[in-house]
């Protein structure tokens, strides 16, 4: 069953959204948005603290606590997670899965430590990638500020061996543009790894979601398109079902 996942990027206490990771603007109260997506039939929620790694803060925990009191949906939380202890904090605050990004690139053993402690199904590897001029994709860390030289397909395969249970792969080139997902990225990922892949970045219309799912993604994620009312989740799921995609209605 394919999943539709709204993503709430949180900075300080509000939800924000930018374009290609920059120009962040306010997009609403995280708890209210979460409740709305629950009522609309979202399959999961993702909360990412987009300030944490860069600024060394952790404003997400109280938000997770409030969301978990109201919303009985699976929640993935991430942003600035650098240790097993920090993952446990997220889980205790109400997250079901924790996404790690920069810290895993810098210290890949974090994935195996986390899988050993919580089980691999709890460990989501978030990867932000940018197209290379010569082909392929490069992993970029620290909220899109630090190119790593690491090849995205090699990193995905390695992460699977280390114990990641799922991949959340964001195309920085497509992020916030509403011009469509980078489908060739997801086609390449299905060859590089057997892990479930959440496609992120570029959603602008129902057809974009269908394209990403047909390219091999197991779940599709969007932020501003949902927050700003450009597309409702029920309308999206109806459209996907009519195109023959298996979704929960």
């Amino acid at each position: 069953m394919k999943r539709v996942i709204p993503c709430l990027d949180v900075k300080e206490t509000g939800v924000v959204k930018g374009v290609r990771f920059e120009g962040l603007r306010p997009a609403g109260d995280p708890v209210e948005l979460a409740a709305r997506y629950d009522a609309e039939g979202a399959d999961e929620l993702v909360f990412l603290d987009v300030s944490a790694t860069v600024e060394g803060r952790r404003p997400l925990l109280p938000i997770l606590e409030r969301v978990a009191e109201r919303v009985f949906l699976p929640v993935t939380a991430g942003g600035g997670v650098g240790s097993v202890a920090a993952m446990r904090e997220m889980l205790m605050a109400g997250a079901d899965k924790v996404a790690v990004n920069s810290a895993a690139v810098e210290r890949p053993e974090l994935l195996s430590e986390a899988a050993e402690r919580f089980g691999c199904q709890c460990v989501v590897l978030a990867v932000d990638v940018r197209r290379r001029p010569g082909g392929g994709w490069e992993v970029v860390t620290r909220a899109g500020t630090r190119p790593t030289g690491v090849d995205a397909m090699e990193w995905a395969a390695r992460a699977e061996e280390l114990g990641a249970g799922e991949l959340l792969v964001t195309s920085m080139d497509a992020d916030g543009t509403r011009e469509g997902f980078d489908c060739s990225l997801y086609r390449a990922l299905t060859r590089a790894t057997r892990l479930p892949v959440i496609a992120s970045g570029g959603a602008g219309s129902p057809g974009h979601f269908r394209d990403a799912l047909e390219a091999g993604a197991d779940a599709v994620l969007a932020a501003s398109l949902f927050h700003e009312g450009g597309l409702s989740i029920p309308d999206l799921k109806q459209a996907l079902a009519q195109w023959g995609q298996e979704v929960r209605l």
Partner: protein
Amino acid sequence: MVTIVDAGTGNLRSLCNALTALGLESQVLGEPPRDTAACLILPGVGAFGHAVRALDERGWRSYLTRAAGAGSRIVGICLGLQLLFERSEESPGAEGLGFIRGTVRRLDASAAKVPHIGWSRLRPSGDERVPPWAYFVHSYAVRPEEAGVVTAWADHPEPFPAVVRRENLTGVQFHPEKSQQPGVAYLKALLGGEG
């Protein structure tokens, strides 16, 4: 009062929140109480072997064995369901609680992606009144020796037991506390309206 067994594997908050929303009182205990609780939840996220060790170290194994024998209602969720069985491929050598005969096996990666993360339809095999959909996050599934204990199956390329019942024991492979309102309501039914 619902007693939640804390084996240190995290994520008890969602469960507590669900019970609170249902108007049920609950307590999370790291170690067994003196009296035999009438209603226990054995939750769990994490690895089978790690959880078994934690149950042993904290004195839960003997407590739960006594409680199961005394007729306490015990509800296992996800890994908690798997812990009711004898052993798991995830942690060879680790001894489960063994309340229900059978093993826990890894899902077949050639049938569908593993871990299985997401919503699946539930198919009751008898009069089990399950929600139509439930949310799963797991890589292993139980394989009971007696097929009769399975009261609902998950609709999946490789079908697996979603609900298992034996006398006062129930286990669910999905997360009722994460399956929106129908899941939370089902959890209340499993607990027998205990409050």
